[in-house]
C-alpha cells in the first residue's frame, strides 16, 4: 500500500485506494488534515510556523512550512484530486505541543493552531476534531479508505480523532 510521508512543511493529497498519508513527530508543529467525502480525497500539511512574513522567500519552495500559505496550497493540491471547493470538507488538527512552562513563553504550538484556524475560517471551515497542545509529540497517519486519523506518541497507545 502506498504510504506518502510528509516531512516538515510537506503537503500531500490523494484519493488512491489503500494509500495513507503520514507525518512523524509533530512537536510544536501541527498537522492540518482535510477530508473530502465527495471525492474521497484526503489531504494533510505539516505546518511549522504560523506566518510566512518571517521568511517570504521560503514560500516558493516550501509553502507548507507556514499556516498562512500551507493551507491554501493544500486546497490547491486537493483540487487536482477533484475537490471542488471548501464546502462540505472535514477538517481535523493535531500537534502544537509545548515544553512545560506555565508562562507559555515559547508558544509556537498555540500560535500555529490559532493561525491555522484563522485561515480555515477565511474559507468558512472549522475543525470538527482536534488534539492540540500538551507536552507530547505526535505522529499522524491518515487512511484514504476510511478517513480515520490515527495518532501515536512514544509511550502511549494509539488513538483516533
Amino acid at each position: 500500500m502506498a504510504e506518502i510521508v510528509l516531512g516538515i512543511g510537506g503537503i500531500g493529497a490523494t484519493n488512491t485506494k489503500g494509500a495513507t498519508l503520514k507525518t512523524y513527530a509533530l512537536g510544536s508543529c501541527i498537522a492540518v488534515v482535510i477530508l473530502d467525502p465527495q471525492t474521497r480525497t484526503v489531504g494533510m500539511v505539516h505546518v511549522a510556523l504560523p506566518d510566512s512574513a518571517i521568511k517570504p522567500e521560503k514560500v516558493a519552495t516550501l509553502p507548507g512550512y507556514f499556516a498562512d500559505t500551507g493551507i491554501p496550497a493544500l486546497f490547491e493540491q486537493m483540487k487536482r484530486c477533484g475537490t471542488k471547493g471548501p464546502q462540505g470538507l472535514i477538517v481535523k488538527l493535531a500537534g502544537g505541543a509545548q515544553i512545560m512552562d506555565q508562562n507559555n513563553t515559547f508558544n509556537i504550538g498555540k500560535r500555529n493552531a490559532l493561525a491555522a484556524k484563522k485561515i480555515l475560517w477565511s474559507f468558512g471551515l472549522a475543525p470538527v476534531a482536534e488534539d492540540l497542545g500538551d507536552n507530547y509529540s505526535r505522529t499522524v497517519t491518515l487512511a484514504t479508505d476510511t478517513g480515520i486519523m490515527t495518532l501515536s506518541s512514544p509511550g502511549k497507545p494509539n488513538w483516533h480523532i
Binding site: 508543529c29 506566518d51 518571517i54 512552562d101 515559547f106 509556537i108 502511549k156
Partner: protein
C-alpha cells in the same frame, strides 16, 4: 529493586565505558577553550590518519561541489569548519553511544544523535545572538554531548518510562528527570556528568551535561552557555526531534533572561534557521 542499588549499578556501568581516543579528548579540550583557533584543531587532526581520510572524503563529496579535489587536511578543515570536524570526531569515537537505540526512552537508532545535533545547532545560534558572553563553538559541542547520559540510563529505565508517564499524569513528579530520579535514584544529566568525568571532559562540558535541565545550578561564569544548551534542547524537542517517551516533559527555566537575550518573538526565526542548518549538516554527514 532498591533505588540505591540501581543507582550503584548505573554508576558501575559508567565506569565500564571505554575511554575516549587521544585525538577526540584533545579536540574536545581545545574547543572548550575560548581562544582556540582552527589551526589548533588541525594540528591535532593531522596526527589521526583515519580522521584525516574521512574529512577529505567528505569535503570531496558532491555536497561541496569543489572544482578541484581538496587533497590537504588544511583545505578540508577550512571548508568544513570546526563544528563539523567536532561532530565527526565525536561520531567516530563515541558514535556507539550516540547512535544506539534508547529502548528505555522508546527511541530508535540515531534518534539521540539527531536530537544532539539539532540541540548543538540551536545552542550555537542562541550563542551567536549572545556572543559577548557565550562562545558559540563551546555551545555547539555542549549541545552534542548534553544528553549522553541517556545512552547509559536507557538500559536501566527499560519499561520504567510507563511509571514515569503515570507519575507525570498524577503530578507526582514535576518533569521527566524528576521521574528518572524517583525511579532509579539518578537522572540522565547526573549519569552524563559521571561519564564526562570518567572521560576527563573539560569542566564546561561537564557542567553543561550536568545542569542542562537545571541551568540555575551551574557555576555563575558558565551559566550563559548552560542556558544556551538548555534552550537549544527545547528548540530541538519543539522541532519534533526528541528522544522518545520523555517527549517534551521538561521545564523551561525562565531565568534564562538573566543571562541570554532570546525574545519569544525570535523563536520562530531561530526554529527556521535551525531546521535549515540541521538539514544541511545531516546531508553532509551522510556523505561518507
Amino acid at each position: 529493586m532498591e533505588k540505591k542499588t540501581l543507582n550503584k549499578e548505573v554508576l558501575a556501568a559508567v565506569r565500564h565505558v571505554p575511554l575516549l581516543s587521544v585525538a577526540a579528548a584533545r579536540i574536545l579540550d581545545l574547543t572548550a577553550q575560548v581562544d582556540h583557533t582552527l589551526a589548533d584543531v588541525m594540528a591535532v587532526a593531522k596526527n589521526d590518519a583515519a580522521l584525516t581520510a574521512r574529512l577529505l572524503k567528505i569535503v570531496n563529496s558532491p555536497v561541496y561541489g569543489l572544482l578541484e579535489p581538496a587533497t590537504s587536511l588544511e583545505r578540508a578543515i577550512s571548508y568544513l569548519g570546526e563544528n563539523l570536524v567536532v561532530s565527526l570526531v565525536l561520531e567516530d569515537t563515541i558514535g556507539a553511544y550516540l547512535n544506539k537505540p534508547l529502548p528505555g526512552y522508546g527511541g530508535g537508532s540515531g534518534d539521540l544523535w539527531r536530537h544532539d545535533l539539532r540541540t548543538a545547532i540551536a545552542a550555537k545560534e542562541i550563542a551567536l545572538i549572545n556572543r559577548d558572553r557565550c562562545p558559540p563553538d563551546v555551545a555547539f559541542t555542549g549541545g552534542l554531548l548534553h544528553d549522553i547520559g541517556k545512552s547509559i540510563l536507557s538500559e536501566f529505565l527499560k519499561d520504567g518510562y510507563q511509571e514515569i508517564l503515570a507519575e507525570l499524569a498524577e503530578k507526582e513528579v514535576v518533569d521527566f528527570v524528576g521521574g528518572e530520579r524517583d525511579l532509579l535514584g539518578i537522572d540522565h544529566a547526573q549519569v552524563g556528568y559521571e561519564l564526562a568525568r570518567t572521560w576527563g571532559l573539560p569542566e564546561v562540558m561537564q557542567m553543561v551535561i550536568r545542569h542542562h535541565h537545571e541551568p540555575s545550578l551551574a557555576p555563575e561564569d558558565l551559566k550563559p552557555v548552560v542556558y544556551a544548551v538548555h534552550l537549544g534542547d527545547i528548540i530541538a524537542m519543539m522541532g519534533g526531534y526528541g528522544t522518545g517517551t520523555d517527549n517534551l516533559f521538561y521545564r523551561l527555566d525562565q531565568r534564562y533572561t538573566d543571562y541570554l537575550v532570546v525574545g519569544p518573538e525570535q523563536m520562530g526565526m531561530l526554529m527556521l534557521t535551525v531546521e535549515e542548518k540541521f538539514n544541511e549538516t545531516v546531508e553532509t554527514l551522510q556523505m561518507r
